[in-house]
């Protein structure tokens, strides 16, 4: 496995473990994540309830497990939306300089003239929130960044000799796009999206912390932390458990993204990591 950065392996391993837990969550939960138990309200962490119980006596570990898929869905779902829309928009702008390029880039400028979380809030403000809307909103927030990156990478490649040669051979735009530009543009795009997943998960959990994500009794981690605030003095574990899990997930995704960059960016390859 030499040549593969340690950060990529470590981040990937932790991420895979979390993904497994998220998928297997419904079968692993020791209790019903939405089951009330009045007698067990606010039990501190114990052998029976590893992470304690909340204000309704629900088992916090079960709720954390049942909620693991939300953050992953938001992070990777939003990034998929970014790739599906951002990359073609960027390529379109690079290929059709002039009106099309101008229109796309002005739209991009407009979307980044609000800070991400506020753009997300604006998109989610009017209609009742749920998981899918949050994924789409986070995706829309980061589309401009990928469109811009794709455009600049493609513009650079269009000047390259091998693309000029393809043009001289008489290849059409579509063929140049598929066979010359995309294969060479992938690695910076993948690197950027890998790093952006961290931001997407952060943004998604912040939005759902504000009540603009999955709704109760869903146990999205940001939402759980928001709900735990009322009784933070009595039962700090209700918020600490999902918070620490979120931190572990974010660190793993960040490690994975940084490792991916190291692995794919030829300028960084072989450089000692420190």
């Amino acid at each position: 496995m030499s040549g593969v950065p340690r950060t990529l392996l470590l981040g990937g391993a932790v991420l895979a473990a979390i993904a497994l837990l998220a998928i297997a969550g419904p079968w692993l939960t020791p209790y019903d994540p939405t089951g009330f138990s009045v007698r067990a309200r606010f039990s501190p962490p114990s052998a029976a309830h590893w992470f304690g119980t909340d204000e309704f006596g629900r088992d916090v570990l079960s709720r954390v497990l049942a909620g693991a898929h939300y953050s992953l869905a938001i992070g990777f779902g939003a990034m998929t939306i970014c790739l599906v829309f951002g990359v073609p928009l960027g390529l379109l702008a690079a290929f059709h300089r002039g009106v099309v390029d101008e229109a796309i880039m002005r739209a991009v400028d407009l979307l980044i003239s609000l800070p991400p979380i506020l753009l997300g809030m604006l998109i989610l403000a009017v209609t009742p929130p749920n998981l899918w809307k949050t994924i789409v909103a986070v995706g829309i927030v980061y589309i401009p960044i990928l469109a811009r990156l794709t455009r600049s990478v493609a513009l650079g490649l269009l000047e390259e000799d091998f693309v000029q040669a393809a043009r001289a051979r008489g290849e059409g735009s579509v063929s140049i796009l598929w066979r010359e530009i995309l294969p060479n543009a992938w690695s910076p795009i993948i690197v950027e999206s890998g790093l952006r997943v961290t931001f997407a998960i952060l943004l998604g959990s912040s939005l759902s912390f504000l009540g603009l994500g999955p709704q109760p009794p869903g146990s999205e981690w940001g939402l759980m932390i928001a709900e735990s605030r009322q009784f933070i003095d009595r039962a700090p574990w209700v918020g600490l458990a999902p918070g620490l899990c979120l931190c572990v997930l974010l660190i793993a995704v960040n490690l994975f993204g940084e490792g991916l960059r190291e692995y794919l960016d030829p300028r960084l390859r072989g450089r000692a990591h420190g």
């Binding site: 407009l110 809030m121 961290t198 912040s206 912390f209 603009l212 605030r229 003095d233 700090p236 974010l250």
Partner: protein, 319 residues
């Protein structure tokens, strides 16, 4: 330089105008009847009709947009539905308190971030550099609302050193009580960004320290402190200005979350309030205000960059 400033100002005006269309469109075109949103789902058709007539919701959208936009040009930012007051004074009040919060945080980010970055760059490879690098990595991965929870838990619930939430006006409670309500939110808002700024200052400082003119300065026998202060720092700080502008955006976003956790009555919490209570005119006005502030912050950063960068200052058309 004048032409550059004029062009950038024009761009700000254009951004604000385009943003007003986007904000209006999202609020009015997305599925969800505005009158029902305001009155709740159990509203009777007749009360919906009355409200729609009152708000002018039956007029064509372009007319509604123009009414809203031209009123804003005349300083009228609409009426808050829930508070039944003009939105402008409510927003300006909240903005004042947010400015205190964000301003103090920004000062902290700029001073501590740059200091730590320079320290890490000049002590590259030592234990303290490594500890800083690890801390930066961890701090970036912790969401600010979780920092807030940890801070409340530790400093308010456990140690009882500081109040957990709220805000007291300076004039009524005096400096100490006023500050005690600000310390936690300001620090929570700053902590992640300090890590960000110091990390990037470190790398731009290292780039500069590698350059030949620094070698020349050292070779002619300048004391290291002068090399750093007079030669390296001014150039290393140029990229930091751009980073600080990006961070101003993150800071404005962070304000929303931090104000919500600490129940701090600022613009961010007002926006969350507007969304929770479906106060759409208040939401529209608040979003416009944030767009304006963000655009001006970016403008300030661009101008500072242009002013400090001789290539743009003397280059005329560049940028």
């Amino acid at each position: 330089m004048t032409g550059y400033v004029a062009r950038r100002l024009l761009a700000v005006v254009g951004t604000l105008w385009a943003m007003s269309i986007l904000i209006f469109a999202i609020v009015h075109v997305l599925p969800g009847n505005v009158a029902y949103t305001i009155l709740g789902e159990y509203a009777t058709p007749s009360s919906v009709a009355v409200l729609e007539a009152k708000l002018g919701l039956n007029d064509p959208l372009p007319l509604q947009y123009w009414r809203w936009f031209s009123a804003m040009l005349h300083g009228d930012f609409g009426q808050s539905l829930v508070m039944d007051r003009p939105a402008a004074p409510v927003i300006l009040d909240a903005l004042g308190r947010s400015t205190i919060l964000a301003g103090l945080s920004f000062l902290m980010v700029a001073s501590l971030g740059i200091t730590l970055g320079v320290y890490a760059a000049t002590h590259k490879g030592t234990l303290s550099d490594r500890v800083l690098a690890l801390a930066q990595f961890l701090f970036i991965a912790v969401p600010d609302f979780f920092w807030a929870i940890l801070a409340i838990l530790f400093f308010a619930s456990l140690l009882h050193w500081l109040p957990a939430t709220g805000y007291e006006p300076l004039a009524e409670v005096g400096l100490l009580a006023w500050l005690s309500h600000l310390i936690l939110p300001v620090c929570v808002l700053a902590i992640g960004l300090i890590a960000h700024v110091s990390r990037l200052t470190r790398s731009s400082m290292l780039d500069v320290l590698d350059s030949r003119y620094i070698l020349a300065a050292r070779a002619k026998g300048l004391p290291e402190r002068l090399v750093l202060r007079r030669h390296a720092l001014p150039n290393a700080l140029l990229p930091t200005i751009t980073i600080l502008a990006i961070d101003a955006g993150i800071l404005i976003g962070g304000v929303v979350v931090v104000e919500t956790v600490f129940a701090y009555p600022g613009l961010g919490r007002l926006l969350v309030f507007a969304i929770e209570h479906h106060d759409l005119p208040l939401l529209q006005a608040g979003m416009m205000m944030i767009t304006a502030i963000y655009a001006l912050a970016n403008l300030a950063a661009d101008l500072a960059y242009a002013f400090l960068n001789p290539r743009i200052r003397f280059g005329g058309a560049a940028a």
